[in-house]
């Protein structure tokens, strides 16, 4: 390659006088960036006021965080998909498939009282692999057949659920005792962990996602494809390959979420997580992700997931009937996005 282009600095036009009021606007910007966080805080404070003291006990705090794990982990994958301008309706089914795969593999080890560590790890990897295959298929179909992901994943949602029922023989699959079941214990086994291992894994995965999105070329490609696919192609990004990578990579997160789901249920359940995809999408969107692509963040999405968990927990604590909970969650979903719109207005 020839040496770098040397362009003499332009002389024709005078540089634009720089704007002076950068300070106040940057304060605003920071405030806006933390909008989901403030949302979480205000919901929390609201419940602290309304609820019995049991709500803000440390133990309940642990409960809420543990209940965020599954949606939270899956939301990391969904965040990447949504930033890339896609959507995945099949996550719930994939999670169900994952739990069934784990249970089936665990049962292969024979009817011992406790499953060996080897087979336990194999089971977890099996679930993750099963989800990865689903993700890969979705990526392949969307990018090769050029079908919108809404439809592809709507189809895969049915297919994965059907396969889960098939593998599980339409039943919940019970399993021997094993270490995976300890991932979501509110009082973790080595007590110094304080939180369940699942919580620590979530924190790790959130950090991983944030780093991938911000500091890697792959992350940059995700944003580029979501913002303008044609530009991405023009700039030499192999869009269909990247898209397959995105769906496969995020399906790995779904796989981990399914391990957590199994840990919660201790059985393989082909009907598990029905409709959970909507919770997951809602979490990402509440956290600032835009369904038209190019916007979203790991931090925002996990906060979105936390908001929903706090709401559910708080409503249970208050003894609010289930239907009121549903109404409140519906309002919150719309409200959060309305605030996000408003934020964009201010920014512009």
């Amino acid at each position: 390659m020839t040496p770098k282009v040397e362009i003499p600095p332009a002389t024709v036009m005078p540089p634009l006088p720089n704007k002076s009021k950068g300070e106040s606007s940057s304060v605003k910007k920071v405030l806006l960036q933390f909008a989901p966080f403030f949302g979480l805080l205000s919901v929390f404070i609201l419940f602290v006021i309304l609820c019995p003291p049991a709500f803000y006990s440390f133990y309940n705090f642990k409960t809420i965080i543990t209940q965020t794990v599954i949606v939270g982990i899956a939301a990391m994958g969904m965040t990447m998909i949504i930033i890339s301008g896609g959507i995945d309706l099949s996550v719930g089914s994939q999670i169900a498939l994952g739990t069934v795969v784990i249970a089936t593999i665990l049962n292969m080890g024979g009817p011992g009282v406790e499953a060996s560590t080897g087979i336990t790890i194999l089971a977890a990897l099996g679930a993750i692999a099963a989800c990865a295959v689903c993700g890969w298929l979705i990526g392949l179909t969307t990018s090769r057949l050029n079908i919108v992901p809404f439809i592809v994943t709507l189809g895969v949602m049915q297919i994965a659920r059907g396969v889960a029922k098939w593998i599980g023989k339409e039943q919940t699959v019970s399993t021997p005792v094993n270490n995976l079941q300890k991932l979501m214990l509110l009082d973790p086994e080595p007590e110094w962990l304080i939180f369940a291992p699942g919580v620590w894994i979530t924190i790790l995965l959130v950090a991983l996602t944030a780093v991938v999105l911000k500091y890697t070329v792959f992350g940059r490609y995700i944003f580029a494809i979501g913002s303008n696919e044609k530009t991405a192609r023009l700039c030499g990004i192999n869009v269909s390959l990247t898209r397959m990578a995105i769906y496969t990579f995020s399906a790995l997160f779904t796989g981990v979420a399914s391990v957590m789901q199994y840990s919660n249920l201790t059985v393989g359940d082909p009907t598990a997580a029905a409709g959970m995809e909507l919770d997951i999408i809602a979490a990402v969107v509440i956290g600032g992700g835009s369904l038209s692509g190019g916007e979203g963040s790991a931090m925002g999405s996990i906060i979105g997931a936390l908001i929903m968990a706090v709401l559910r927990n708080g409503c249970n604590m208050l003894g609010v009937p289930n239907f009121v909970q549903e109404v409140i969650i519906g309002v919150i979903i719309i409200g959060a996005v309305a605030i996000d719109r408003l934020k964009h207005h201010i920014k512009a």
Binding site: M1, T2, P3, K4, V5, E6, I7, P8, P9, A10, V12, M13, P15, L16, N18, K19, K21, S25, K214, Y215, T216, V217, F218, R220, F223, A224, S227, N228, K230, T231, A232, R233, L234, C235, G236, I237, N238, G294, E295, A348
Partner: protein, 500 residues
């Protein structure tokens, strides 16, 4: 001077911290063709958006047709007699010509739409398109025809003022000429026209009076007769511009790109052969739809190739068949898209991301980005290219059209290829910046880069290219040195495919 139709006084408009308009005055007489000119980002489009009702001014007064005029939305503006033809076409692609033209003003009976075919046909006839079938879906029409459909929209209403914002930037010379005829017919009907363009020759050719904007302020107005292009430029830029087409010495070297009988899968191009040398600036001329864009898209791997042999730098493994954009980029090709908004830029990403997107390898290691280095590189380009922005973290979408184009070019320069395909590189760019880009292209050539430049603006091709070829219906003429081409030869080949 005839009666004043439109009078704007002290229009001020800010977008957050950006002051787009700082007290503009504009007066347009009945039935005149009024040019509105200015550099990129001077505020022309913003002013017109205010006139059409798409934006509201912060302060200032507008008098239209003797009455104060405060449109709340574009529809109100349209019904009050101001029609706006935007830089980007505004049509509903799934609807037919008739449906598009009568959109919003349908006649109906009990909610059922009545056919207004005759009205539409009449409008099309005035525009010289009597054969166009009103029931054709618009997404099958060429850009020029689509533009006429937009103008027809103005004719079915009692329109007194038509605003054309850079209407010719995506038209070829022939279509431009046809458009001028249309404008003349509008004038004959007593309709006033505000005409925005960066092509000052055009402006001088068809306009009666002009107003110049600079940095959101009116800096001059007057009658076109007796004003030279040089004077217009001086008012726009604030000083005189001595050399529009600079020439930096460069020599042609060995062949770097050989194309033989290239044929695209989508019928265009049908047959293209040429050889590009190191340090050569090759111009490609032709009518819109001739297939010039498709040709370079095929070469870059964006469109599918049916047939043909392509050799890049003598390498056997780089046939057009196997090319994908990523491979093309790796082997030293780069492409500047003609469609900035849809393809060239990711408009809701920051400037720096756009500049470095095709060369992330240079600022990354094992897939990890060096953000500081990336930002620094982008900032350098912003300075060198004189991009008017607050900060390279700003979204590209917030820049004016010309500045967006500069960002696209900065991406190419940052990637630093050996062969540049530039599709309409000066589209929507003001004269001052144009001269900059010409100088840049010359500089690149002098450094041993090769450039293929597609343009529908003949003077610039004649001004800066070393060699030139013309395309007619997918067939590329022979490449000849620029000095052996005449305007006449070029137009002859472009319209009829006959070589002299």
């Amino acid at each position: 001077m005839p009666d004043t139709l439109l009078k704007l006084t002290n229009i001020i408009k800010t977008f957050g911290p950006v002051k787009a308009l700082g007290g503009v005055q504009l007066e347009v007489a009945q039935g005149e063709i009024h040019a509105l000119i200015g550099e990129n980002g001077a505020g022309k489009s913003t002013l017109m958006k205010i006139l059409s009702g798409a934006e509201k001014p912060d302060s200032g007064e507008i008098m239209f047709d003797g009455k104060p005029y405060h449109p709340q939305n574009p529809a109100e503006g349209r019904l009050s007699g101001i029609a706006m033809i935007y830089q980007e076409l505004n049509l509903a692609p799934h609807l037919t010509i008739e449906e598009n033209i009568t959109l919003g003003i349908e006649k109906s009976k009990l909610g059922f739409a009545k056919s207004q075919k005759t009205l539409v046909q009449e409008a099309l006839r005035i525009l010289g398109q009597p054969d166009l079938d009103p029931s054709t879906p618009v997404n099958t029409l060429s850009i020029a025809k689509q533009q006429l459909v937009e103008i027809a929209r103005a004719l079915v209403l009692d329109t007194k003022l038509v605003i054309l914002d850079e209407p010719t930037s995506s038209l070829t010379a022939a279509d431009t000429q046809a458009l001028f005829e249309v404008i003349a017919r509008l004038k004959a009907k007593g309709i006033a026209v505000i005409y925005i363009s960066h092509f000052l020759e055009e402006v001088q050719q068809i306009c009666d009076r002009f107003t110049v904007l600079r940095d959101g302020q009116t800096v001059g107005t007057g009658s076109m007769a007796g004003t030279s292009i040089q004077q217009l430029i001086e008012q726009m830029v604030g000083r005189s511009l001595e050399d529009m087409y600079p020439h930096i010495p460069h020599t042609l070297g060995e062949p770097v790109l050989e194309v033989q009988a290239l044929q695209g899968k989508s019928a265009l191009p049908r047959s293209a052969s040429f050889t590009l040398h190191r340090g050569e600036i090759l111009g490609i001329s032709g009518l819109v739809g001739a297939g010039r864009t498709e040709m370079i898209r095929c070469l870059f791997g964006l469109d599918k190739v049916a047939n043909g042999k392509v050799t890049i730098m003598g390498r056997k493994d780089l046939q057009a068949h196997y090319l994908r954009p990523e491979k093309a980029l790796d082997s030293g090709l780069d492409l500047l898209s003609e469609n900035r908004k849809e393809e060239g830029l990711a408009v809701n990403l920051p400037i720096f991301t756009n500049i470095t997107l095709s060369a992330l390898k240079r600022v990354s290691r094992f897939g990890w980005l060096n953000l500081a280095q990336e930002k620094q590189q982008a900032d350098e380009w912003c300075t060198k290219m004189n991009v008017k922005c607050r900060d390279s973290r700003q979204e590209v979408g917030a820049l004016s059209g010309g500045n967006q184009q500069k960002v696209s070019i900065a991406r190419l320069l940052n990637h630093n290829s050996d062969i540049f395909f530039m599709d309409e590189p000066t589209r929507g760019i003001d004269v001052g910046s144009k001269a900059e880009i010409y100088r840049l292209i010359q500089t690149l050539a002098s450094q041993g880069k090769s450039i293929v430049m597609i343009s529908s603006y003949l003077p610039e091709l004649l001004g800066i290219c070393d060699t030139l070829a013309v395309m007619h219906r997918g067939e590329l003429s022979a490449v000849k040195p620029i000095s052996t081409w005449t305007d006449h030869d070029i137009m002859l080949y472009a319209t009829s495919g006959v070589a002299v």
